[in-house]
Symmetry: C2
Subunit: 454 residues, 2 copies
């Protein structure tokens, strides 16, 4: 009889079909939070599944928010929090899916469907890993708590209130965040945090209504005013010039630089993928990685003014707007960025530009030497037979700070995605092998974080 992880891995192998079938069942529920479909039904299915995995779990909610599953199981010195969300992005554009988004389909070793990667796959894999760990080892070496929310894809608007209300059932010594991916070269990756985000609409109206462009001699033009205002925010060297902004960005430390130097980054592949011959400023090597992983952004996501059709229309546009997205690294916050932006524009006479705040999240960044970080590296090394790639921050954003920074829980992210998982896009997918490997890696992570040796 095999024992320990030999037994655990044998269970994963022998139950593979059932494990994947269970995920498919969850994928069939169209849990689109933006469209308020399938939320209660999915929350209830997830709650049942958590209970079957041995969790003492409940669906709780704060006023106005969706059902949020909290639960716990096991005992030990350490407590691990597992964060996932059961809602998914809308499946549009539907016509670009090769098979329907809510009919999970296997093709050439991959499973396609909305949410397989983001994030129902990891949610299910982790519950299954708990169950199999108990079967292989008898009991868990630690306490495991879960927090499964239902509105991550629309901004987690009630999560902060939920964390405040249910802090005692969420607190932990470490957290595993929703996702992680094999990189383009197939290496497992671990992330130690997420950038924050501040998203704004900038809008202005310079005249009452569109005028004939012959009046451009003497009437103000909203599109020009917006252009001048935007040009004052970032220069052609791609340096953010919002007054005072860069003062809040921490310099990389020696250990940051060491982490980044060791981090493989396939520049040629990235350039090929995006159809560019060079990165901004012609950067490469560690300088490129520092900018990508540790620096903030100021991005024009959209520009709208006047006529956008075919041919010519000689119009002086009354109104103009831009959508601006800042990715935030410590110590930038959405509120700080908004205040800096307002003051910057006012100082230059752009008091007529209105700023409307949309999505905002704080950055969340954790050291490489926490217990969860060390456990995840050891677990991945053992499960994948190779050293994982450790990212100091993911370039994306999420509500990590609302949970982990608020409660002081060190966090890591790793999971079953791949570099082409197409989250938020048509034909979202995971490799079935990666799904089973995440169960294997997560089992080892429980083991190590629980204080046992591999």
């Amino acid at each position: 009889m095999p024992s320990g992880f030999e037994a655990f891995d044998a269970l994963v192998r022998s139950r593979a079909t059932t494990l994947v079938e269970e995920l498919k069942e969850l994928i069939r529920l169209p849990t689109v939070s933006a469209q308020e479909t399938g939320i209660d039904e999915t929350a209830s299915a997830v709650l049942d599944r958590a209970r079957r995995a041995g969790l003492d779990a409940k669906a709780e909610r704060v006023e106005g928010g969706p059902p949020t599953i909290v639960g716990e199981t096991g005992a030990g010195e350490k407590t691990l929090l597992v964060y996932d969300h059961y809602d998914v992005q809308p499946p549009d554009p539907l016509e670009e899916w090769q098979t329907p988004p809510f009919e999970p389909t296997e093709r050439e070793g991959y499973l396609y469907g909305r949410g397989v990667s983001d994030n129902k796959g990891n949610l299910m894999a982790r519950l299954q890993a708990l169950e199999l760990y108990r079967e292989a080892f008898g009991s868990l070496p630690l306490r495991v708590r879960v927090l499964f929310e239902g509105e991550e894809e629309i901004g987690s608007h009630h999560l902060a209130a939920f964390v405040e209300r249910y802090a005692d059932r969420i607190r932990a010594d470490g957290c595993i965040w929703e996702a992680g991916y094999r990189d383009a070269a197939g290496r497992p990756t671990i992330s130690l945090g997420l950038k924050g985000i501040a998203y704004f609409d900038l809008t202005l109206r310079a005249i009452a209504k569109d005028a004939h462009s012959s009046m451009a001699t003497i009437l103000p033009n909203a599109a020009w005013r917006l252009t001048w205002a935007l040009a004052s925010l970032k220069n052609e060297r791609d340096e953010i010039t919002v007054d005072g902004f860069m003062e809040h960005v921490r310099e990389p430390t020696a250990s940051d630089l060491a982490l980044l130097e060791a981090l493989p980054y396939d520049e040629g592949e990235m350039q090929r993928l995006h159809g560019v011959r060079a990165f901004v400023r012609g950067l490469s090597g560690t300088a490129l990685k520092v900018k990508h992983f540790l620096e903030p952004t100021c991005t024009i996501c959209g520009l709208t003014s006047g006529y956008s059709g075919m041919g010519s229309k000689t119009v002086l546009p009354a109104a103009a707007s831009a959508k601006l997205d800042f990715r935030l690294v410590p110590d930038l916050t959405p509120t700080l960025v908004r205040d800096l932006l307002r003051a910057h524009l006012d100082r230059r006479g752009f008091t007529d530009i209105e700023i409307v705040s949309h999505h905002g999240e704080l950055p969340s960044r954790w050291p490489a030497d926490t217990a969860v970080a060390k456990a995840s590296v050891a677990a991945c090394r053992a499960a994948y037979g190779t050293d994982p790639v450790v990212y100091p921050l993911m370039a994306g954003s999420g509500p990590m700070a609302q949970v982990c920074d608020t409660l002081g829980i060190p966090v890591v992210g790793f999971g079953s995605g791949n570099a082409g998982s197409a989250n938020h896009a048509p034909n979202e997918n995971i490799a079935i092998g990666d799904y089973l490997d995440h169960i294997r890696a997560f089992g080892r992570f429980l083991h190590v974080f629980g204080g046992r040796s591999l």
Copy 2:
């Protein structure tokens, strides 16, 4: 029995209903050149009407062009060319018309319908004036030629070729151009030329396809590149900074300044109309008029990039485009502006911005002391009982240079429009009184330009 202009004016008065009915018949034809509707039918109606007015007229065309009516009548030392166009703008948005655009309707002394002001009204009024002049005076004191084109509203693409082929039937000592308007205070206006125009699409693609905005750290952003390029073309003082551009703009002469000082311009009314509290640079008085009438423009007519919907989408836009309209004064030309713009962008590294030229017209500006200018001032003064307002250049554009500069024909514009005629817009209108007054003024203009005294 009254004689001379007493008789002429009596005819206009007594025939008023018939004169307006004839215009309505022409308005009922939906001559939308952009949609290629009603062109042949209208050309044929206009040809018939010109012949009934005594013109030896024909519909001619150059390859690919619409029927263009040329004709002549009368004899004398001087030859006058009458330029009008029989095509109209599309009537969209239809739902904003109070009565259907091609069902001419009278309301409170105004006639509503597509083309009543731009430009079927003046075309018909001038033919009617020729007829009534002959009836009142026996014969014309000069030779009158007409040039009625059918594609002015889509750019007069065949007019230059037409003018070259039929120059001998177009040449004249003076020209009256299509339009003119009572200003907001009700004063008749005369213009001595039109600004030219150069219209461009600026487009660029910085990456292969839209990317996630977290990649903004290292990938170029088309919207930013366009913003920086545009900001280099005009500064916040509204000064055009395209390299070398302003060197081609003539300084106003002493007589320009005298003309503009005498020109009434109701700044308060203009500000109220457009909902602004100040003009660009806080200009007023003669400096404002110099900028409006004698300076070029560089206008962003449209900006398009990335996401323009509600809320937030965290996208790094692959492409961006702007529509740019330059209004040209002597000695700027569309070709020159395109060359300057290309060199300006290239010099700053914006070689990836593609420039596509749309509509282009040369400016056409004529002195205040030509025979047509003097005759039009005298005719308007006599017809309206007040001094007309003389504009050195209209701020708008048209194919005037293709006719008048090519053949060296001094030109003026006056007509039956008003400050609220809504050309190109819903509820286009003229006052019926202004229509009849234009017949009266044009009769006097024929008289004076033909060498007779009022």
